[in-house]
């Protein structure tokens, strides 16, 4: 039963979304289901955050090496959540003040001075790694690899003003930026479209398997 009921739910809900597409008069049912999905997905994100808190607490109580970092995770989580939930104590009635981003709020300060630089810098590191990977790994070993690197170089030069500066002797509309445009709008479009169609057919067949209950991996074992 622990597996059968979830499988039935999967098939039933999946069928709702397929049937309501073809019978618009039944879209009211879809509206209700969509509302529930928005809320369940919110709880799923909460689950992720709370699971992180749980794992950090377990790591801290185990006193293994690295437990100090778990303490930092817990403290930062609690401070951020406390700052964000502060409006609960404001307002005439319980939860009447929704404005968690009031001007000069601590929560917004934490976002601007802590979250933004950390998030942005983490991803900025990728620039260094992409340069290092280009030097160490990208080799024109065969025809296909040479084609790949050639296209990459044309795009990298064509999408900056230098490309037009280098090929400025060519008539207008025939410079490197025009080549980059043509590459993107024709062969790249075709290649991406082939990938897109292939993936779409795979997703459609997997979705059908899920709705019909043939695919059961999401309900796990008993």
């Amino acid at each position: 039963m622990r597996r059968q009921i979830p499988l039935l739910i999967t098939g039933f809900v999946g069928a709702i979304y397929i049937v309501t597409f073809f019978i618009p008069a039944t879209r009211f049912v879809e509206t209700i289901a969509t509302d529930w999905i928005l809320i369940i997905q919110a709880f799923a994100i909460w689950l992720g955050a709370l699971n992180l808190l749980k794992l950090s607490i377990m790591k801290l109580s185990s006193r293994k090496p690295g437990a100090g970092y778990a303490a930092i995770v817990i403290v930062c989580f609690l401070i951020t959540a406390a700052a964000g939930l502060a409006p609960i104590t404001r307002g005439e009635h319980f939860l009447s003040d929704h404005n968690y981003l009031a001007e000069n709020s601590t929560f917004e300060w934490i976002y601007n001075s802590v979250y933004v630089p950390l998030n942005a810098t983490m991803f900025a590191l990728l620039a260094f790694f992409v340069a290092s990977a280009s030097y160490r790994a990208f080799r024109a070993r065969n025809r296909e690899a040479t084609l790949l690197l050639g296209a990459a170089c044309v795009m990298m030069l064509g999408r900056v003003p230098l490309g037009d500066a280098i090929t400025g002797f060519l008539p207008e509309g025939w410079t490197l930026s025009a080549w980059a445009d043509v590459i993107m709008n024709f062969p790249v479009l075709a290649g991406q479209r082939a990938i897109m169609i292939g993936i779409a057919l795979g997703i459609v067949s997997t979705a059908l398997r899920l709705v019909l209950g043939i695919e059961r991996s999401h309900v796990g074992g008993d």
Binding site: Y111, V116, A120, A127, L149, C153, S177, L189
Partner: protein, 279 residues
Amino acid sequence: MFERLLALDRRWIFLFVAVALTIPFFLGLSCKSYVSPEVKALYAALEELRPNSKVIVSFDYDPASEPELNPMADAFMKYAFHHRLKLICIGLWPQGPLEVDRCFNRVLADPEIQKLNPVYGVDYVNLGFQSGNEFAIQGMGASIYNVFPNDMRGTATSQIPIMMDVRDFSNVDFVFNLSAGYPGTVEWVQVAVDRYGVTLGAGNTAVQAPLVYPYLGSGQLKGLLGGMKGGAEFEALSGHTGKATKFMVSQTFAHLVVILFIVMGNVAYFAAKRKGGRA
């Protein structure tokens, strides 16, 4: 020598990249941007909008994508304010609402925009974030009030002047999506465009831009700003020069560095291979 080049400590490469990208900031150079067809197409679609047209702007990105998408967002907002378009801003990423606020703070600090005196709730609104990814878009097709019952400040959406005659997508004239991944432009095309007939333009990070070119080709997407270059092109077209244009010189240096490394790596590899060394 070539073997030593191939075995170069990557920290020297990191240092070279950092220096090469920092130098252009002190050179004070500028450059002109060639405008690509997909940016022109987006601009042409926007020019067809009449004053007081309702435009949904979806901020589907986080701070990691700010350098690419903020210039597009700023230029688009300035264009919209100058052309008296009504902006309904939402976020399908949790960071979206704060990115909207940060964008408004930057744009409204511009004296040219202050002269236009845009009013919150009348000319623009921030409806906040809603979870659910493509289900949020699906829900908006039935009722925007249901998906976003309040704005960021807690005011009921149905009581906000700009939203009073906007119940669903049929009351919206254009959607502009700023996207860094999932959910993003792909989901807006799949649900809003193909199911509800929305007119959609998009600004994407450069990583995502090639993935949506098929939608451009099929007409599902009206126009596309791809990466910081797309932002610079839109700034040039709309006349609101900003950071994207300023960074184009640095971007040029960055691309030259990578091409240099690719060439150096291949030269060293083939030279070492020819010598019979380990590559």
